[in-house]
């Protein structure tokens, strides 16, 4: 590979002291990832386009699961079980602009019947809340596409539920 092409690295998950306080001592339940708004995430009004927040949520959620040793794609390959998103909600409190540095926290609030993760996006410089979000996932057996009604025990326990 040419030296011109640097490998893209996702930001390392960074723990948040605030969240650890909120969540008691269970660090598995919350995780924070730092970002800088890239040019290609902006809309014509120079704000982050609303759909891009889902990508930030996804990266924070993946980091949260990784911290508990959970990789849902590997799990799909090994156990033929999918975890599709079934519901999302986002509240956009303040806009994000080009090169804003922000942190996206992901906190798991339920993993028994469905996996529910809540997100908060805050500016790094003044901690202003910019967005709040929530995603819900269920377990589905593949290729039957049969809803499993509860999250498999190994995943549930790894996530602390």
């Amino acid at each position: 590979m040419s030296k011109k092409f640097r490998k893209i690295k996702y930001p390392e998950p960074k723990s948040s002291v605030n969240h650890l306080v909120h969540m008691g001592k269970d660090a598995r339940k919350s995780c924070e990832v730092l970002f800088t708004v890239p040019f290609h995430d902006l809309d014509p009004m120079q704000r982050v386009w609303h759909g891009n927040y889902f990508k930030y949520f996804e990266i924070a959620r993946t980091a949260l699961f990784a911290r508990s040793g959970v990789d849902l794609f590997n799990y799909f390959k090994e156990k033929n079980c999918l975890f599709p998103i079934i519901k999302t909600a986002t509240k956009y409190v303040a806009s994000l602009e080009y090169l804003d540095e922000f942190k996206c926290s992901a906190t798991i609030v339920e993993a028994q019947y469905k996996i529910v993760v809540e997100f908060k996006i805050r500016l790094t410089r003044n901690n202003q809340l910019c967005a709040k979000g929530r995603t819900e996932q269920v377990a589905v057996k593949y290729p039957e596409k049969e809803i499993l009604f509860e999250i498999p025990r190994d995943i549930r326990e790894a996530l602390g539920f």
Binding site: K87, V138, I147
Partner: protein, 87 residues
């Protein structure tokens, strides 16, 4: 729990959780109110909380064909009857 009590609790769940206000007892919830399989999973969870015990996977699978409030009430009756101690 009597059927009347269960009915009013179920209607309360529909009102609060699914924003479906007083559906007819034999109305098709999927056709008229777009009640879907995702809603069904959440309803089953509420039924578990109401009954105070977990439903088996077979019971839950059986519930996926339900279409009306009356069918939900019959379903809960059958689950409770199945759990009753034989004399």
């Amino acid at each position: 729990m009597k059927r009347d009590e269960i009915r009013s609790r179920i209607l309360q769940i529909f009102r609060e959780e699914f924003e479906i206000k007083d559906p007819g007892l034999d109305e098709d919830l999927r056709e008229l109110y777009e009640f879907d399989s995702i809603d069904a999973i959440e309803l089953l969870r509420e039924i578990e909380i109401m009954l105070g015990f977990k439903l088996t996977r077979e019971d839950k699978k059986r519930a996926m064909d339900i279409r009306t409030i009356n069918q939900i009430l019959d379903y809960i009756d059958s689950i409770v009857a199945g759990r009753a101690e034989p004399v």
